[in-house]
């Protein structure tokens, strides 16, 4: 089908879009990569593989994994309850799921710290059990869990809503138990969306800063996340190290973006076919 481009405004809108994207998005990203590249391979490697940097990757990745696993289970349960059941307060629950996206991260950070500090509402009873959350890697996990909570709920919810009821009906009529149907019929159908949500949630946790720095102890080698290390290098006027460490986060983010895009394209294809 041939179309005559009769609509006006291509030059103006595309020109503005390209100019803006170049100035606001591409230029800073390129400047950062350029700065990091100007270090030279040996020096770059020395900075990004220093024990303190490696310790920061370790605590960041492990905490993000923990937070993502929690959100995988809780997010799936939340999405399930929101789509399958009707109960008083359901609409409010559906709305407040997005609170972690709406609440500024610094506010979330001080609120979570107040809750989990040794004298806090949750911190005090946990301390009696001998569990310290605030100022430990567990605190980092709590902050990451909060800030990435909506991702899995919101990727799984639409798929659950569109799930064909006849599949479950058929399986039930054949005598399968609820748990067997969930594990062997429903879960495989949700898997692409779950995976996409997991990668979004994990990526967000890797880059989170505001909520974490209040509740983490920010001790080098143990509770210092990678984003904070980049920030600290900057405050020490060590711009080279800041650029190198920030570039590690940037490259990781691009890798996660690529993975997420592939997973989401798959999830979309899957639901369309279904």
């Amino acid at each position: 089908m041939k179309r005559r481009p009769v609509l006006p405004g291509l030059k103006l809108t595309l020109g503005f879009t390209l100019f803006y994207v170049a100035l606001i998005v591409a230029l800073p990203v390129a400047a950062l990569l350029f700065k990091a590249a100007s270090l030279g391979p040996a020096e770059y490697w020395a900075i990004v593989s220093s024990p303190r940097a490696v310790a920061s990757y370790r605590v960041t990745v492990l905490s993000a994994l923990g937070a993502t696993v929690f959100n995988l289970v809780f997010g799936l349960a939340l999405a399930w309850v929101l789509t399958r059941y009707r109960f008083p307060g359901r609409r409010i629950l559906d709305a407040v799921v997005d609170l972690p996206f709406a609440l500024p991260t610094a506010v979330a950070g001080i609120a979570l710290t107040a809750l989990f500090a040794p004298s806090g509402w949750f911190g005090a009873p946990l301390a009696e059990l001998g569990i310290k959350v605030a100022y430990t890697p567990l605190g980092i996990m709590v902050a990451m869990t909060f800030t990435s909570l909506p991702f899995i709920v919101r990727t799984v919810q639409p798929v659950l809503e569109d799930l064909d009821p006849t599949l479950e009906e058929a399986a039930l009529s054949l005598g399968a138990s609820d748990s067997a149907i969930f594990a062997r019929v429903v879960l495989p159908l949700l898997a692409p969306a779950l995976l996409a949500g997991v990668s979004l949630s994990f990526a967000r946790s890797l880059g989170e800063f505001g909520a974490i720095i209040f509740i983490a102890g920010n001790q080098p080698m143990s509770t210092e996340i990678t984003a904070l290390l980049a920030f600290i290098r900057l405050e020490e006027y060590d711009y080279q190290a800041a650029a190198a460490i920030a570039s590690v986060l940037l490259i990781t983010a691009f890798a996660m973006l690529a993975i997420t895009n592939i997973l989401q394209a798959r999830a979309l294809r899957y639901t369309r076919k279904g």
Binding site: V6, V21, V29, L32, P104, F231, L249, L257
Partner: protein, 300 residues
């Protein structure tokens, strides 16, 4: 549930409907939600008023706090309209025309969502800072970008660049071009076509994007904290002011300032739900639009 036409007389049997499972799941989810979502909100209110209403009022009317509120409002007043314009322009270009590289442009627009705010701040430093690309030129001409309002605005622009665009692009893609082409062929100008044909169809989605963009601009912390310099009473936005008070051990004051931002978040959620009832914020949209509805259909 889509497609269930209130036919409660005939509902196919589904799993998880036994009262025990149902009750356990609902109660379990509500309890965890109370811990994870409600408690942080409650603790802000309790802490903010922990020293009484007078201390609270004194904290939020303190000159430094008022100045931080002013900085936040000014930043939003500049950044939100610019990103709204960008969202409309990019959506118009991407959905009303075919050009090579459209998909790449979509991916690039989404980039700020996946980048850590700290990385964004550091990146801006290497453009406008003394160590950066334009640093020497800027300081030679005595232009202050970093550690001043322009830097805060630029960082906010970066972080929220995709907000309006990602609401509009899938919607305008789905709506097609027929109406606009009809208007244009009848002699309407580009602006007239946009305002009387396109805008009425996208207004709720546009407002939705603007509201979310505004919430993020006002709440942005990481990127802004790198480029602002954090000078009390000068370059502090409200989230930065919260941090400053908190580290000064003025906990009640920090939570008082935080309560304003928490209030903003709650209002944002209300507006969001109201707009979703009007069809904005497509519930079927994945959080990141890798493949907006329609594009793939055109190029199978």
């Amino acid at each position: 549930m889509s497609g269930s036409s209130n036919a409660s007389s005939h509902r196919p049997p589904r799993i998880g409907e036994s009262p025990l499972v149902r009750r356990a799941l609902i109660i379990g989810v509500l309890v965890v939600s109370a811990f994870v979502i409600a408690a942080p909100l409650a603790v802000i209110a309790v802490q903010a008023f922990s020293k009484g209403v007078e201390t609270y009022l004194a904290a939020i009317t303190h000159p430094d706090t008022l100045h931080a509120i002013g900085m936040t409002l000014v930043t939003a007043l500049i950044a939100v309209p610019i990103n709204t314009l960008f969202g409309i322009a990019s959506a118009w270009a991407i959905t009303k025309f075919d050009f090579p590289g459209r998909r790449l442009l979509l991916v690039v627009i989404e980039i700020p969502f996946s980048i850590s705010p700290i990385v964004a701040g550091v990146a801006y430093l290497f453009v406008y800072g003394l160590q950066g690309l334009f640093g020497e030129w800027l300081s030679a001409h005595d232009v202050k970008v970093l550690f001043a309002l322009p830097g805060i605005v630029l960082a906010s622009l970066f972080v929220t660049a995709p907000f309006v665009a990602r609401e509009l692009i899938p919607l305008m893609q789905a709506q097609g071009r027929d109406l606009e082409e009809a208007a244009a062929s009848l002699g309407a100008s580009g602006l007239r076509t946009f305002f009387s044909v396109t805008l009425p169809n996208i207004r709720w989605a546009l407002l939705y994007g603007v509201v979310l963009c505004n919430a993020r601009v006002m709440g942005e912390f990481g990127a802004v904290s790198v480029v602002s310099g954090n000078i009390r009473g000068q370059t502090n936005t409200l989230p930065l002011h919260v941090e400053l008070l908190y580290h000064d051990y003025q906990t009640a004051g920090a939570f008082a300032a935080a309560s304003i931002l928490a209030g903003l978040a709650v209002v944002t959620l209300f507006v969001k739900v109201a707009l979703e009832r009007r069809g904005a914020g497509r519930r079927n949209r994945p959080a990141f639009v890798a493949e907006p509805a329609g594009i793939s259909k055109e190029t199978p």
